[in-house]
């Protein structure tokens, strides 16, 4: 077919091809304006359509970003409110626990102070000081000895009497001082009581102050969230991402634990439900093992929900305390039963493995060898079978974090995808527009010969106008400015002629 077309004009393929080429170029030259219009319109249309689509996507992305931010802020606000509430509850508990006994504490303090005061009073009642008899004694002693023995005797008697009285008074004073010391010694325990009580009050107040600082911090955060500040949004997003990663990691660990658990009970399950029955491509025993593990996880979810550690099921969270306590008991009991079943299954697995190994040895003609310390892996498997269900029960905590943070992460991912789509649309639109322009130039490249001819003809037809223009320019310019004028005319010529030669859009066949 192609060969026939090629030789339609002449037997020589080259001549025929040349004729075809001339025809093609002529046709293309004649349809140049329409073709250029087609390229231009198509390019603009694609560009406009894709720009519109890009704008729509960007608008959607903006709305989604706003929505994500609102959700994040709302969640952060709720979390912050809960945190503040929790802090207040702690303060309340602290006050109720430590300061509720403040009246009795006050009474203790008052009693201690009263006793101290009484002791102080008692210690201040000192015995009267000995009168100034020493002066009298000294005076009597200093009297000159009289010749009268009777007088001397009287004076000696007085002196003795005074000295006796002085000694008695001194003894009484010493006794009173001892009593005061006794009272002061009694004050020691009271002081100690006071010190201890005041220490307790100080600890309580310090703790309260600490809580107050934390509440202040939480309140600042809450205020920042309420004001819709960017810093708060960024902080919440970062926190959400961290939570997502950590909870994801813990969930992966839990999944691995679940797989180990599965391996532990899948084989002995075939002893219960048979090893040949299948549902689809799965053994019934595998399904049974899987169901047991999933029930354990579900029980764990319910248990933690009843304990109000997680909040995935509002129905459980809104139950009254009595019902909740019953639920705790029921789920914990079921979990323990399942853990016991798993422990026994793990033991059975060990027995089956032993039996199988013994059979293999017998079939291979080797005597059955009793392995030493075989009880260690047996006990290990049993303990693992018992502990793993309880460990899996705690998967509810990372699961809740994962689900809560997944909303933010998914939102962020979708925003990223939308942004990429918008950029891609814009890029494709621009590329299409430029591709159409390139096509127009390629079109001109194919028909460059007729275009060149046309340009020459146009150039010749416009040449006389140009010479006239230069002549008039010469007449109008001064002789002093001749070079400048010539330059200007050159410039004006070039600026006039160039568009005619280069602007292919304006050229018509």
């Amino acid at each position: 077919m192609f060969q026939q077309l090629l030789t339609v004009w002449s037997d020589s393929a080259a001549i025929s091809a040349a004729i075809w080429l001339v025809l093609l170029v002529t046709v293309l030259y004649l349809g140049r304006q329409q073709a250029h219009h087609l390229f231009s319109t198509t390019g603009r249309a694609v560009f406009t359509a894709l720009r519109l689509a890009s704008r729509s996507v960007l608008k959607l992305e903006h709305r989604l970003s706003q929505r994500n931010r609102d959700v994040l802020m709302a969640l952060g606000r709720t979390a912050s409110e809960k945190a503040i509430e929790r802090e207040f509850t702690r303060v309340s508990t602290l006050v109720a626990r430590d300061l509720a006994h403040y009246p009795s504490l006050h009474r203790t303090l008052a009693d201690a102070i009263e006793k101290i005061e009484a002791d102080y009073q008692a210690s201040s009642l000192s015995a009267p000081l000995p009168p100034a008899w020493s002066d009298v004694v000294d005076t009597i002693s200093a009297l000159p000895k009289s010749a009268d023995p009777a007088l001397n005797k009287i004076l000696d008697n007085i002196k003795d009497a005074i000295e006796d009285s002085h000694e008695e008074t001194l003894k009484a004073f010493q006794k009173a001082t001892l009593e005061r010391h006794g009272h002061l010694a009694k004050m020691h325990p009271q002081w100690r009581t006071l010190k201890t009580t005041m220490g307790k009050v100080e600890t309580t107040l310090d703790s309260l102050e600490e809580r107050t600082c934390m509440i202040d911090g939480q309140m600042d955060r809450y205020e920042s969230i309420r004001n819709n500040e960017d810093a708060a949004a960024n902080s919440l997003l970062s926190s959400s991402l961290t939570q997502f990663l950590i909870s994801g990691l813990v969930l992966i660990i839990a999944t691995l634990g679940g797989l180990i658990n599965f391996q532990l009970i899948a084989l002995p399950m075939s002893e219960m439900v048979g090893g040949t029955a299948t549902i689809g491509s799965m053994r019934m025993s595998d399904i049974a093992a899987l169901v047991i593990i999933l029930i354990e996880i579900a029980m764990g979810l319910f248990l933690l929900e009843s304990l109000r550690i997680t909040h995935l099921f509002p129905v459980i969270g809104s139950m009254d305390d009595r019902m909740r306590r019953r639920m705790i008991v029921v789920t914990l009991t079921l979990l323990t039963i399942l853990a016991t079943i798993e422990a026994s299954l793990a033991y059975m697995r060990d027995l089956l493995a032993l039996d199988r190994a013994a059979l293999q040895q017998s079939l291979a003609g080797v005597g059955v060898v009793e392995a030493q310390f075989r009880w260690i892996p047996s006990i290990g498997q049993m303990v693992m079978g018992f502990i793993l269900p309880f460990a899996l029960a705690f998967v509810a905590i990372p699961l809740e974090s994962f689900i809560h943070s997944l909303r933010s992460v998914l939102g962020m991912v979708v925003v990223g995808v939308l942004r990429t789509v918008a950029v891609a649309l814009r890029l494709v639109g621009n590329l299409a527009n430029h591709a159409c322009k390139i096509l127009a130039h390629l079109y001109d490249l194919i028909i460059m010969v007729p275009l060149g001819v046309e340009r020459l003809i146009r150039h010749r037809s416009t040449a006389p106008d140009l010479s006239d223009a230069s002549a008039s320019a010469k007449t109008t310019t001064d002789t002093d400015d001749a070079p400048t004028a010539a330059n200007k005319s050159k410039r004006s010529r070039s600026t006039k002629v160039e568009p005619v030669l280069t602007d292919t859009q304006e050229v018509t066949p």
Partner: protein, 231 residues
């Protein structure tokens, strides 16, 4: 507040989705790449004529391998080829292994005991060799088991020597059954003209293929892993 409620609702939806995904993925993980479990049935015929009585230890090794390979739900039978093999009395031991692994292990031990008793008590070989009769008996047994994969193992030199009056030159229906010739020893006359050996094998192959079955020969007993397709 509405946003929080919406978010909580969304979280619950995500959780449901996650649970379903977890279930499905765990199911896929457990069943991924595994074809549905196929039950197998193996019937082994042991030639008890002539010098083959001296090779019973090899047959016992094969039986032990089969006992170790076959699992719960599979069937296994051992029968001898004697002068008239189309007979239930020639079945030495047969068992369909229980779905419980422990019971299946007990059955295997019992089977092994039967095989050991048979090999130790067999002293004198049979006068004739009725391979076709044994194959027919095997077909009956295998079809009754309704297993997905059926195999007949023929531990013989494939030289049929029928008693007077026995008719066996008719087509056999072995559709869906793989017949494996094991340890096909060369006879003295095969050494004189090896084409006899080839012709004997070709005749049996033709007979099996025409009956709708598959044919294989395994002489190297070190390659027992090729014997029965593993699940």
């Amino acid at each position: 507040m509405k946003l929080v409620t919406d978010s909580a609702r969304l979280s619950r939806h995500i959780m449901t989705l996650l649970l379903i995904t977890a279930l499905l993925s765990t199911g896929l993980l457990a069943g991924c790449g595994e074809s549905p479990i196929k039950s197998r049935a193996v019937y082994m015929l042991i030639d008890t004529s002539g010098t083959y009585t001296e090779q019973l230890d090899k047959a016992e090794t094969i039986m032990n391998y089969l006992l170790a390979t076959l699992d719960s739900g599979d069937s296994l039978a051992l029968a001898r080829i004697d002068s008239a093999s189309f007979n239930e009395e020639d079945i030495i031991a047969k068992a369909t292994f229980d779905i419980r692994p422990s019971t299946a292990n007990d059955q295997k031990r019992l089977f092994q005991h039967h095989v050991q008793t048979f090999t130790s008590e067999l002293v004198k070989g049979s006068a004739h060799t009725d391979i076709t009769g044994g194959v027919l008996q095997a077909i009956d047994f295998l079809n009754e088991t309704d297993a997905d994969e059926k195999t007949i193992l023929v531990f013989s030199d494939l030289e049929e020597d029928l008693p007077e009056g026995h008719v066996r030159d008719f087509p056999i229906d072995v559709a869906g059954i793989e017949v494996v010739a094991l340890n096909v020893t060369k006879l003295t006359r095969d050494n004189i003209d090896p084409r006899d050996y080839e012709n004997r094998l070709a005749a049996w192959q033709k007979r099996v293929m025409e009956g709708g079955g598959q044919w294989r020969v395994i002489n190297d007993l070190e390659r027992l892993d090729r014997l029965v397709a593993m699940n």
